[in-house]
Amino acid sequence: MELDAKAPGGPIETRWDRHRFNLKLVNPANKRKYTVIVVGTGLAGGSAAASLAELGYQVKCFCFQDSPRRAHSIAAQGGINAAKNYHNDGDSVYRLFYDTVKGGDFRAREANVYRLAQLSLNIIDQCVGQGVPFAREYSGYLDNRSFGGAQVSRTFYARGQTGQQLLLGAYQALERQIGAGQVEMHPRTEMLDLIVIDGRARGITTRDLITGKIESHLADAVVLGTGGYGNVYYLSTNAKGSNATAIWRAHKRGALLANPCFTQIHPTCIPVSGEYQSKLTLMSESLRNDGRVWVPAKKGDTRPPAQIPEAERDYYLERRYPSFGNLVPRDVASRNAKAVCDEGRGVGESGLAVYLDFRDAIERLGRHVILERYGNLFEMYERITGENPYQAPMRIYPAIHYTMGGLWVDYNLMSTIPGLYVIGEANFSDHGANRLGASALMQGLADGYFVLPNTISDYLASTKFEKVDLSHPAVREAETQVTSITKRLLETKGTRSVDSYHRELGKLMWEHCGMSRNAEGLRHALGTIPGLREQFWRDVRVLGTNEELNQSLEKAGRVADFFELAELMCLDALERNESCGGHFREEYQTPDGEAARDDEHYSYAAAWEFRGVGNPPALHKEPLGFEYVHPAQRSYK
């Protein structure tokens, strides 16, 4: 299969403008004749649904939560990047573009990233217009902070709740369209299959989570904004409900899935406290602006942190990376935390934690400044751990946070199935092998507000749609498929709960396909997963019926998909014989332990084609060219 990225050439500054001019438009009066399905209501899905409805399209929008406002974008804390250069510190669209390509370790498509940097400007304007209460200076102007992987201050924020406020902006825009009758909203409804007719995405099959009713919905195009797959690992910073079912079932219908092994480990999360742990909580990366990361200089030092004198502390990030210090990118910070813990210098009961210390910042700036910047984060930390971070340093450890991989899309955000668009974290496009902090919000909103509403018109205007109805054989087939999976899960009546299988899979993935990987471990995982998956299908215990709210049944379907996806992740990680960004293969590192890329052989996006469960998938490569930012060993020293 030839992967045509449809990325325009020529001067990078004008690519998006020229491309946009060449896209076909739908006449305003004709827009209402088209129906678009949007699945997911996070920053990407919510903003897309609202914007498409404003344009006049008929929108049907779906989410599994009880309200579109609950999508997990809401939990993003730190901020959103934009190259406004309000601080005269040398920022520009080009610099944001450069930082993002470099931060992604040269595994993203240049044209996409440049567009993202350009649109970052419009996003801030849009959100201010909606009433997002961004932090302000006393003058009334917008305030900024700095974030990992950048040497300029370009992150806009609303206390430690930026994601919440941006999402509520998109949610309110969406509700306005629901009120106006432009959007038909289906909360507590889960997409369980994609309907493909004559090679085009024409609808979805869903389960009503309250009544269990399996239904199909038809449209002229389908947009997935269903987020990432970090919950493969069971323990992650994702919401409990976050899942890969929508993208995985689209993948099984023919959409290629790219770079599944590119997962991001966030360096600053609250450490695991016990076996019952149900999820991990992130402490915003913005804390690294003022917090200093350290561990005791010598092994097995169990003194309380306050009793360890300055000379016996190792501020290892400042020591190893003097120019970026505590603000190195996430992958670098995470790997270093793991390395010092592996050396036996970790702190806390488990030895799997490092300190994030605010003592010096409090001395320098005063407690009130720290309170204002991070008050809610400090409270959250204290609520969870029972410890006061104003008095003792926080203990943090890396955790799975974001997945850069996802369904392959071209420059128009269309997958390999015509009419199926994928936006936000669900696609693979803009972050390469590592996402920089405060860039996920930017990408979700760029895709939803500004890219998709433009590109989708080209598809709608240039396609002749055959009339289809719910009696079409493809619709029947999808419904039969969904019903049989549900039935099988309920009829298995095995011995172990869904969660127990999910935990087991998660542990295996964290050990062998987590923060660092090697061929042997990946082969072991690949050898173990199929057996575990078969056992799951033979032995899972799902009580209750389909015709009611059945949370075990919902989870079971999602975990079944995680089993299949996990195998692909390991395979992708094994195939990629290099280290890049979040994908760290132990065999491929520089003498001083940094990731060693192999541009000669692996400068491509790996897009996988599904060939049946248990059958080896086919690999298709989209070669990546770098005309502007020349690949170099990333250095943050």
């Binding site: 999508a71 201010v128 217009g129 209460p133 709740q161 009120g179 019952y276 992130l282």
Partner: protein, 270 residues
């Protein structure tokens, strides 16, 4: 430690519910409240009994999906804390806890501890927004917002829409929820053009949804996990009154007003 739970079990809105007693031995102090319920559910599944249904998602106190009454208090005993962020170190060995769903006419029960809060969405759809089409705003710094206003707007905007205020209010009023949005948008320059209209439309929708009226009791403020202050309700009342006195709130066109009066908004009707 050992915790005794008395949990409201109800298969669906049509069937009768009842309180069922469960014991959870070996509760760890570091567990969150929901992790204790996970442990209970795992043990129920092992025994072949159906697990307790409860809403939850982010488990970091921000999505607003979780919540139930714990011994008559919404989200339990810790101030400014959602149920998912409540940790078992607040309890002691042998404690008996009664868990019940939010009870309000406007929040019909779905199952066990799960209720339907879509009425909140319809209130936002009625007017809880600034009408700005994608692409129209000018530069972000073209609108200056005094820091105090931005901060107060953020205080109000912190609402997570969990419904604890309604559950705790003897009148089942949604005033704190509505007023938080009205105050957030009304404190910002961008929110001024629709200020009166917003208050009138949202209040009308809340009446449609059968939420009660506010009688200044303050239970809502006491249990709000985001510590939204009662003062926002004063702001809402002022906006509403001003709309009525100046006639500006009647900018609802006749046909729109009719819709608001006669039926809930289209969309999430269940």
């Amino acid at each position: 430690m050992r915790i005794i739970l008395h949990i409201w079990r109800q298969r669906n809105a049509g069937e009768k519910g009842r309180i069922v007693r469960y014991e959870v031995p070996d509760v760890n102090r570091e567990m969150s409240f929901l992790e204790m319920l996970d442990v209970l559910n795992e043990s129920l599944i092992a025994k072949g009994e159906e697990p307790v249904a409860f809403d939850h998602d982010c488990r970091e106190g921000i999505c607003g999906m979780c919540g139930c009454m714990v011994n008559g208090v919404a989200h339990g005993p810790a101030r400014g804390t959602t149920l998912c962020q409540l940790h078992m170190r607040h309890f002691k060995d042998g404690d008996e806890l009664y868990l019940e769903p939010w009870r309000a006419r406007a929040f019909p029960l779905v199952k066990d501890l799960v209720v339907d809060r879509s009425a909140f969405d319809r209130i936002i759809a009625a007017g809880g927004f600034i009408s700005v089409a994608t692409g129209s705003p000018a530069d972000g710094n073209a609108i200056l917002v005094p820091k105090e206003n931005a901060d107060s707007a953020m205080d109000a905007a912190a609402c997570i829409g969990c419904g604890a205020c309604v559950a705790m209010c003897p009148n089942a009023s949604a005033s704190l929820f509505m007023a938080a949005k009205i105050a957030h948008l009304g404190l910002l320059p961008q929110g001024q053009p629709e200020r009166e209209r917003r208050a009138v439309a949202m209040v009308a929708q809340a009446r449609q949804e059968l939420f009660g009226s506010c009688t200044n009791i303050g239970e809502c403020e006491a249990v709000c996990p985001k510590e939204i202050k009662l003062e926002v309700i004063a702001r809402m009342n002022r906006d509403f009154l001003r709309a009525k006195l100046t006639g500006r709130g009647d900018t609802l066109r006749d046909d729109e007003a009719e819709v608001a009066e006669s039926k809930p908004l289209a969309g999430a009707q269940r």
